[in-house]
Amino acid sequence: APAFAQDSEVNHIAVLTPEQPNDFGWNQQAAKAARAVGEALSIDVTLASGLGYGDVRPTLRELAAEGADLLIAHASGYNTTAPEIAEETGVPVAIVDRPDLMQPGLVADYTLSGHEGAYLAGVLATQMSRSATLGIVVSGEPPSWNSQSAAFAQGARASDPDIELRYSVIGPAAYADAAGARRVTDAVIAAGADVIFGQGNGSTFGILQAVETNDAPDGGKIWFIDVIGDKSSIDGGHLLSSVVWNLEPVYRAMIEDLGKGTFGTRGYSIRLEDESLYLLQSEHIPAEVWERVMEVREQIVAGEITVEPKFEAEAVRALMTAVSD
């Protein structure tokens, strides 16, 4: 394998995901991007999915031995392990959420944060809310959720300083707790929210279900704003938008850097600017609202508005309190 790694040509990449790539979210977007890149550059792609959050060393070592030229470890749970295996096998890895571990030629980081998109979602939600109350429901508090929750709050507040925010975590490690998600969302809706910004895995579907089966205080519809993936194909009429992460440019850049020998010298991210991050435009968004949102997008791209990502749960909660007081 080390012989391969010295060869700057990339013929084979492998992506490791914790869950099955059919979640319309984190896992599916990675698989989709890898396949697209593979097709475009005619590279072999191995998908190792559903690996869970346990020890992926065996899989990493095996994929390295099978001749992968790049291992994309697509879970923050893998970001301590993968660099160690890169060291051991000499095969470059890409990890998430640990820019401090970057190593030229060996380890690159792509800390994904949709905060810019979430800011837009906050703007959108404020425009759409009739009760001036927004809900945020998350399955846990990993950094990528936190930065989006925070940015959503900031975007909402920028649009309307008096907006109310209702924030709730379903429970620790409640990735599959759809019933819990439903229950918590019910409560958040009962607390006045008529737009819900939801982040979760399996539990997202519980949030969706709550949104679809509850009425807003004024008897109208409740809107749902999703993250990462695009659930339009299974929408029941409440999917207002989604902060979509498109990983294709990210993976493509990694491969290019490998070829150029600059891998590991820079991190990758998703940004509004290059469309690796965008807000899904559903048919439910009125044109004038969308226009307003796009204006803000331009301002962000132009650097007139800067959105600082906040990864700490504490920071997120502080923001919620500040807003709701």
Partner: protein
């Protein structure tokens, strides 16, 4: 902050406690009967999960919640059947079989979901409730507790019913004898195997129903591993109940209340770590045991298979 103390929010919290507690109550009541009869059913989690899957499938494909509940019970039964066969009839180790059944239910339902639903994630329409006359008019409590799905009332009705069964029926005597001294029951001419089989099947059906409620009324959809440990919590509640259904009800409600409390605190913007709030119910029970420690006696023959004439 005061703006949060609205009727809808309080109602949602209370209703949420009930919704979270109900699957625990149903499965816990089921487990209690097995335990009374001397069978420790560690496969409860699996039975709930299969019940959830079958319940959802039934409700979704037939459009009737009640058919869904029936399917859920059948799903639970389908897993209780091997438990009965292996543990009660053949006397295999209850913990081994229980864990195996849970693993198989986890694997099977996730596989089936993968094949069937992973592209479409179907969801059920809104569930109709049955407001109880008069009671449902009470502010807050009324809608939270007395404007629910009829299964909720049935589940709560099951508590006094089971309490009566254990205290005042012959079946109750048989169950207790099967758990405390099966040889005596056998000598009295009642089949220990049949008594225990009945209890195990009941457990399966109740756990399946609990799972079905979770998937249909609770979540409105099925996702893999969605019971996320509820079965094990129900086992603990059943044991803490010391054979009394009322205690299972109280435990399940306390548990649901703690979950709602977590939500309430967060929505109110209070910065309490969720992990800490989740520890509350168990920490409280452990402290109670520590300071008011008393013999939490379990049936003497719990986990022991019965074979006639064995010394």
């Amino acid at each position: 902050m005061e703006s949060l103390l609205t009727t809808p929010f309080l109602t949602a919290l209370l209703a949420g406690s009930l919704a979270a507690g109900l699957p625990l109550l149903l499965a816990g009541l089921g487990e209690q009967m097995s335990e009374k009869a001397g069978v420790l059913n560690i496969g409860l989690e699996g039975m709930m999960l299969l019940g959830a899957y079958c319940g959802f499938l039934g409700a979704w494909s037939s459009g009737s919640l009640w058919l869904g509940f029936l399917c859920g019970m059948l799903g639970g039964l389908a897993l209780a059947l091997p438990m009965m066969l292996l543990c009660v009839w053949l006397g295999l180790n209850q913990i081994v079989v229980g864990i195996a059944l849970t693993l198989s239910a986890e694997g099977l339902t996730a596989l089936l979901h993968h094949v069937q639903f992973s592209q479409s994630y179907p969801r059920l329409p809104r569930v109709d409730t049955l407001p109880l006359p008069l009671l449902s008019e009470i502010p807050v409590l009324g809608t939270a507790l007395f404007d629910r799905h009829p299964l909720v009332y049935l589940a709560i009705l099951a508590v006094p019913l089971l309490a009566w069964l254990y205290r005042s029926s012959l079946l109750g005597l048989n169950l207790q004898a099967a758990g405390d001294r099966p040889a005596a029951l056998d000598a009295a001419g009642i089949s220990v195997i049949a008594t225990r089989s009945l209890a195990v099947l009941f457990t399966g059906a109740m756990a399946g129903l609990g799972g079905a409620y979770l998937a249909t009324v609770g979540a409105g959809l099925f996702v893999p591993f969605m019971t996320s440990g509820a079965g094990f919590i129900a086992i603990v509640l059943a044991m803490l109940g010391r054979g009394r259904p009322l205690w299972v009800l109280l435990g399940a409600l306390l548990f649901g209340l703690c979950l709602s409390l977590t939500t309430a605190l967060q929505v109110a913007g209070l910065r309490v770590p969720t992990d800490l709030v989740q520890m509350l119910p168990f920490a409280a029970v452990m402290l109670l045991l520590l300071f008011f420690g008393r013999r939490a006696a379990l049936p003497a023959a719990l986990t022991r298979p019965y074979r006639r004439g064995e010394r």
